[in-house]
Amino acid sequence: MTIILGILLAALVVLVVALPFLREPSVEDDRLDAPGEDEVRRLGLVEERDRALAALKELEFDHRAGKIGDEDYRELVGPLRQAVAGALRAIERDRRYVQDMTAFETPDLPAEPVPPPDEGSPPVPQPVTEPYPPPDEGTLPAPASVPEPYPPPDEATLPQE
């Protein structure tokens, strides 16, 4: 009995282990679905964006909670906003680049057939999701009202040309 159970167990596991080959005995594409160069780059950019957004949100929260003074806040918020904007721009640039490269590499295909004017309503574009909110945080709190440091005191007194 025990031997039979052992043999059954061995047969069963061989079956399960061989299952991917039994299901698809021959396939055209047996490559592992690993991210390519473009995808790795995109992941890095998205990470940068999320990191910058999280840092900005954290700063806003800390400032509203009173952990950071106005002076420190003013000093830190500018570079962080720039970092967020830079990360978003980089993602957009990368997206366009990939699109352009894909279009460049795509072989000549017949143009999409244009639907006749009386066939239904025109297609509605897909909504684009906002990159917010950043990881680990909920909704972005409203920025605190802090007087802008500009114009710097010495610039304000500069003589007009």
């Binding site: 909670a65 999701t129 680990d136 945080e137």
Partner: protein, 650 residues
């Protein structure tokens, strides 16, 4: 049935080896079906190990003494719960539990991440397969729980000290922790092997690390309580090598949990995080080597066995593997940002990391010292309690202080003025507490007073953080729900504070007295008066119980008994202490009747009063609560992760 158990283990070993070899080949050559096959082998390895575990559990419940393991660790009079706990009461069974948890964790972690992180899991499978193959090999070739014999009429029984409810839960908790550290290690190794050292491995293992860390921490507290009520020497932690073996990976994992936040926020400390993950894993295996090799003397050790050398070889090989991997991938692990200020949250985390790792390595040196002296001088020299206590104060007290300062500092940068403003209230509370405690007499122990005042500082800073956060969000529940990890962490900090107060209170302000009494004689200590009423001997089905009975008056009125049990199976004595807990003061009256002479009725006893000791056990519950909050799944976080990785799946 033993044949089925053996066959299941052999199959499990074969599957693990297949997962290692086929997984490596598929990841190297980028072959999808082979990778899926290796993954299936890992799943089946868990199934096969589960069958082996069921066979052993069935044999235990059925008292099948033809299994040498069952006969060696149970007998017919053993209650069912302890009979089942004998599964991990012996070496072979506990190794089987380790393999079961490892393959179970591994299968689940791979299954959960296989779609989002295919490139990573392709390498995680062979790493987990390699670890499982080692344990499978030890179980099949060196220490099998399925060795058979001619069945004796009854078994030898379970060691008396293991017949305790805490021992039903303590070892599995520790294993869930030890083995859980394999998952972040496997993903970190997978990230390095694949060359994709982005944050995905951290995202994938965040909860696994936290869960393993929580199990390990709570398991240690359960073990400490077991030692307190069962071993009967009046303490809860003796810096025993095997106790230290669980503490070291926990310290390394604590450091990792903090430093990984810096990587998430700033993209820094990538190499350091890899080192910490590897260190935590290696220390967990090293701990197992210590417990099982017999190289150190400990009440917790298993009997000396040949598996020690196998474990040592595995620790050495896996350490070399980790180091080579980190060195190889150093260029990929370079940070792109720098620490902006020494007064910032990330800097506080860094100081915390240095202290935690320093404490961990100090403990490691204390554990290794007898082995090193044995090798160098030919005689084993043990490091005593003063060494550990000194370093616990030297590193632990600054750590406690940092736990209060860290949450109050902002990320990136804080000006001295802003920091002084933030720290003002907690400092006022701390100074007020310090003065009040000094007036109350706590100044008799300087480390105790420092620990108390630092604890007050940490609690004040946590309260301040909660109040400030609540002002912004409008509700404390919203605040915690929005960032469970941070506020769950603060609850854990509160637990550590309770632990610190409990340890300081019971060790620095405890009282003890050794007495010789005959019936009718009394002794007083810490507001309690104990009068020896009688001595008695009671035979029970399992043991002969000898007790000295004391009438207690003063702070509490009642009776306490203490003595020993002489068990029949196995024929071993077990010390039984008398404990009266005052929950209002979190204090224990602890009586150890060392020697009870039934003829002369003379009793030699040690009586201890341990103030605040029960805060340590309450800390365990708070620790679990904080860990649960931090671990609680966050649907928004999951959606964001899926959105981030979505194109990778396409």
């Amino acid at each position: 049935m033993a044949d089925l158990g053996r066959a299941a283990l052999v199959v499990s070993l074969g599957l693990s080896v297949y997962a290692l070899v086929a997984g490596t080949m598929s990841a190297r050559t980028n072959r999808r079906r082979l990778a899926a096959s290796a993954r299936n082998a890992l799943y089946c390895s868990f199934g096969s190990t589960l069958i082996a575990a069921i066979v052993l559990a069935t044999a235990l419940v059925r008292h099948d003494f033809s299994f040498a393991y069952v006969a060696a660790h149970t007998n017919r009079t053993l209650p069912t719960a302890y009979t089942l706990s004998a599964f991990w009461g012996g070496q072979e069974g506990s190794l089987l539990l380790w393999l079961l948890v490892l393959t179970g964790y591994g299968a689940l972690a791979v299954a959960l991440n296989r779609k989002l992180m295919r490139d990573l899991t392709a390498w995680v499978v062979p790493v987990l397969g390699g670890i499982a193959a080692f344990f499978g090999f030890v179980l099949v070739a060196v220490a099998s729980p399925f060795d058979t014999q001619t069945a004796p009429l009854d078994g030898a029984g379970l060691t008396p000290s293991l017949q305790n409810p805490y021992m039903v839960a303590h070892p599995p908790m520790l294993y869930l922790g030890y083995v859980g550290l394999s998952i972040p290690f496997a993903f970190a190794a997978g990230a390095m092997l694949s060359g994709h050292t982005d944050e995905r491995w951290i995202v994938a293992t965040r909860r696994w690390t936290l869960a393993a860390w929580a199990f390990l921490g709570f398991g240690q507290l359960l073990g400490a309580h077991w030692a307190y009520v069962e071993v009967g020497w009046g303490g809860y932690y003796a810096w025993d090598p095997v106790e230290n073996a669980a503490l070291m990976p926990w310290l390394a994992a604590t450091a990792f949990l903090h430093s990984v936040m810096i990587q998430e926020r700033k993209g820094m400390l990538k190499v350091w995080n890899m080192v910490l993950v590897a260190l935590a894993f290696e220390l967990s295996v090293f701990g197992t080597f210590l417990t099982r090799s017999g190289v150190v003397n400990s009440i917790h050790s298993f009997a000396k066995s040949p598996i020690g050398s196998w474990f040592l070889a595995f620790v050495v090989l896996s350490t070399i593997f980790s180091l080579v991997l980190i060195m190889w991938r150093l260029p990929l692990l370079k940070a792109r940002t720098k620490l902006e200020s020494a007064l910032s949250r990330e800097a506080a985390f860094l100081y915390n990391n240095l202290l935690l790792v320093a404490l961990c390595l100090t403990v490691l040196w204390g554990v290794l010292f007898p082995i090193v002296t044995q090798l160098v001088k030919g005689e084993s020299r043990t490091i005593g309690r003063p060494y550990y206590d000194f370093f616990l104060r030297a590193f632990g007290l600054p750590l406690l202080l940092l736990m209060g300062v860290g949450p109050l500092i902002a990320w990136r940068k804080t000006s001295v003025r802003a920091l002084a403003r933030t720290l003002a209230w907690p400092l006022v509370v701390t100074v007020a507490c310090g003065i009040a405690l000094a007036f109350a007499g706590a100044g008799s122990s300087k480390p105790g007073l420092i620990a108390y005042t630092f604890s007050a500082f940490v609690l004040a800073s946590i309260v301040l953080e909660l109040v400030r956060g609540t002002r912004v969000t409008g509700s404390v529940f919203t605040l915690i729900a929005r960032n469970r990890r941070r506020y769950g962490g603060y609850i854990v900090h509160a637990a550590i504070v309770l632990l610190a107060i409990g340890i300081a209170g019971s060790s620095a302000y405890g009282r003890s007295k050794e007495v010789r009494l005959i019936p009718g004689q009394s002794t007083s200590i810490g507001g309690y008066t104990l009068t020896l009423r009688d001595v008695r001997r009671t035979p029970t089905p399992n043991a002969i119980e000898t007790r000295a009975v004391f009438d207690v008056s003063g702070r509490w009125h009642g009776s306490l008994s203490s003595g020993d049990n002489q068990y029949f199976f196995p024929p071993e004595p077990s010390r039984e202490v008398g404990i009266k807990t005052s929950w209002l003061r979190a204090e224990d009256l602890y009586v150890i009747a060392d020697d009870v002479n039934l003829k002369t009725k003379v009793v030699y006893a040690k009586i201890l009063v341990k103030p605040l000791v029960n805060l340590i056990w309450i800390a365990g519950i708070v620790f679990l609560l904080g860990s649960a909050v931090a671990l609680w799944p966050d649907a928004r976080e999951q959606r964001r992760l899926v959105a981030r990785l979505a194109p990778a799946r396409a």
